[in-house]
């Protein structure tokens, strides 16, 4: 029973980070219709940039802020250079541009920072877990979760209460109507990439605190896909629920199924789950069902 709850809490904590990155993914899809396979590389860049600032002696919170700023700049640049020209192109073209982008960014990261695993030195969070009742929670996980939730709330508030957020929501809802009301679609696309880059960057930095920073953080970008499919591609609450669910499922698979299928069941389970889930509920929990007519 203790094992069960331990697995559950770890799952929720890691799921918080997944949810944050999934939020960025859903945002891009909602606002500009781009299915982004480069999310993993965005997290990778976030993790490495934070690490670089931190090892230069900048305090952790400040280096996260710097990462956010660099994320905004890179997000806008990428949108302007690569994706601006592809609005309205077939789905394969858009997806493959993001794939090309992901190769480019991954190569760039490897070229600049190398392949060795690096850790945040000195460690930001102490390794000693704290205890609630019988639950032992690692401090890294706890603070990552808290930070993910805080950022998530900030993003939600941004969408609900600011002018820019409202115009982004309007574009996602009906692009033509938003255009006629004077919302600049190009601005919204750029903003959605900037925000997605920010979310992914922070997610990468947090994950880097847990496992150390290396090229495999990019795997997070693939794990986001089961999460968004589960929640529905264009649903923000869906992204959160999906992220948390995938985190929990992944940890349960690692704890309970590993005995039956030794090896990498933890890494594979979200994808196997997704493949089966798609057979039964292809539009996810809250996604829009597209009805096709001739």
């Amino acid at each position: 029973m203790e094992l069960f709850f331990m697995t559950l809490t770890t799952g929720i904590m890691v799921g918080g980070i997944y949810a944050l990155v999934a939020l960025g993914w859903v945002l891009i899809f909602k606002c500009s219709g781009v299915l982004n396979l480069a999310m993993g590389e965005l997290t990778l860049i976030g993790a490495y940039v934070t690490l670089s600032f931190y090892s230069m002696g900048v305090p952790f919170v400040l280096s996260i802020l710097c990462t956010l700023i660099i994320g905004i700049v890179l997000g806008i640049l990428i949108e302007r250079i690569f994706l601006d020209k592809l609005i309205g192109e077939p789905i394969l073209a858009v997806i493959m541009v993001t794939v090309g982008l992901s190769f480019f960014l991954k190569g760039l990261v490897g070229f600049i920072w190398g392949t060795d695993t690096r850790v945040f030195e000195p460690a930001i969070f102490s390794l000693k877990p704290f205890t609630i009742g019988f639950l032992k929670i690692s401090i890294v996980y706890f603070w990552s979760f808290v930070l993910a939730i805080v950022l998530f709330l900030v993003f939600v508030a941004f969408f609900k209460y600011t002018r820019w957020g409202l115009s982004m929501q309007a574009t996602a809802d009906d692009e033509t109507a938003a255009l006629s009301l004077g919302v600049s679609a190009r601005f919204v696309y750029a903003a959605s990439w900037a925000i997605a880059f920010m979310a992914a960057g922070v997610g990468g930095a947090l994950l880097g605190n847990i496992n150390g920073v290396n090229i495999s953080i990019g795997y997070l970008g693939l794990l986001v896909l089961p999460a968004v499919v589960l929640g529905g591609l264009n649903s923000v609450p869906g992204a959160i629920v999906g992220g948390l669910t995938i985190g929990i499922l992944q940890n349960f698979a690692g704890t309970y199924l590993d005995g039956f299928f030794p090896g990498g069941v933890k890494e594979i389970f979200p994808f196997a789950f997704m493949a089966v889930f798609l057979l039964f509920k292809p539009y996810g929990l809250w996604g829009w069902i597209k009805i096709e007519r001739m």
């Binding site: 789905i91 073209a93 794939v99 190769f103 991954k106 890494e267 594979i268």
Partner: protein, 365 residues
């Protein structure tokens, strides 16, 4: 689009001529000339290194043909084709190494050819298994299922279970002389080249014939508008699964060919990168069978040239040599982006334009 316009003055009198294998005698001559070049001239003039490059081109082309069939002819976007190539390679290897072949088959050297066929069929069936969701979903959701196929097959089943058969660690080693076709053991690159070019020619003939039959027309109809195709009485689920089967079949052939080109087989030969690489190849190559071939030649040769250029540069900047893998990734990524943005119809479109210019000359209006 892949159909060439006929030269001035040439025209068809019957519908069967429209679907003809060779449209004119000139085309027939050109094709026979091409076959002569690849079967006779290339082996004579190319040195060992470039024969090796040609083998890589052939392997990429075999893989890309399967992807072209799925993406280019049925609109089923796949990002997991390396899984089916891997299934083909592993089936073939396991058959060669573990299957108790009767003595006379071994003596005749038929084990490897039979294993190619079996590998292709197994890979095709495996591909149908992961094509099943295509009955319900399409577009982005189908991409996700094919990605799941890649991770489940290569990273889980092959790495964790199949590789451990025999308990010799991760890789199956294929000692020289294990792979025999008839009396010849596959030892030099030149012999591998002949296997490659034979398989490639047969695959292209099979695919081209399928595409000009009812099956191919049904696939194209599904690609263009699946709902309209359904109202025309095409059983779209059956044809989609058939497409997955044939694509997997070609992937299996590619995998089984890869076995004779390498000394040891490990799951690392079939990463997700390979799947994406193959899609990149057909995007750069463009539509049609010739698109897949052009794309493979272009990508493999460009990467070889990049590698050659990095050696003199590396004397001044040694980092370039160490980090060549990253440079290759960056170049590949940029090439895909640049082609999609500036040359979305690929290389085969340019080739088509050039051909038409000469076919229609001097009355090109």
């Amino acid at each position: 689009m892949s159909r060439v316009w006929l030269p001035c003055g040439d025209y068809h009198q019957r519908y069967t001529e429209d679907q003809g294998w060779w449209q004119t005698n000139v085309i027939k001559g050109k094709m026979i000339f091409l076959l002569l070049i690849v079967f006779v001239v290339f082996p004579l003039i190319l040195d060992e290194y470039w024969i090796g490059v040609a083998n890589m081109v052939g392997y990429t082309a075999l893989g890309a043909l399967g992807v072209q069939l799925l993406i280019g002819y049925a609109g089923l976007i796949t990002l997991g084709h390396a899984a089916f190539i891997a299934v083909g390679a592993y089936t073939s290897t396991l058959l060669i190494l573990k299957f108790p072949w009767p003595e006379f088959i071994l003596n005749l050297g038929l084990a490897y050819p039979i294993s190619i066929l079996v590998a292709a069929i197994v890979a095709g069936l495996w591909s149908v298994l992961f094509g099943l969701p295509s009955a319900r979903v399409k577009g982005f959701y189908l991409i996700l299922t094919t990605m799941a196929a890649q991770f489940i097959t290569v990273d889980f089943i092959l790495t964790q279970y199949v590789s451990k058969i025999g308990g010799r660690g991760q890789a199956f080693s294929l000692p020289p002389g294990t792979i025999k076709i008839g009396p010849w053991a596959m030892e030099t690159d030149l012999q591998v080249y002949f296997v490659m070019i034979t398989l490639l020619t047969l695959t292209i003939i099979m695919m081209a014939n399928l595409l000009r039959s009812r099956v191919g027309r049904a696939w194209i109809a599904i690609r263009d508008n699946d709902i309209a195709a359904e109202t025309l009485g095409i059983n779209i689920i059956w044809y989609k699964l058939l497409n997955f089967f044939v694509a997997g079949f070609i992937g299996g052939i590619a995998g089984a060919f890869w076995v004779c080109n390498c000394a040891a087989l490990s799951p690392e030969h079939f990463p997700w990168f390979l799947s994406l690489w193959l899609v990149g190849v057909i995007l750069i190559g463009g539509a049609g069978i010739d698109g897949a071939i052009f794309g493979s030649i272009f990508m493999v040769v460009i990467m070889e040239l990049l590698q050659m250029a990095s050696i003199p540069l590396g004397e001044h900047y040694p980092r370039i040599l160490f980090d060549f893998a990253f440079i290759k990734e960056m170049a590949f990524g940029l090439a895909i982006c640049a082609f999609l943005i500036y040359e979305p119809r690929g290389l085969s479109y340019r080739w088509w334009q050039i051909k038409n210019y000469f076919n229609l000359w001097p009355f090109s209006y």
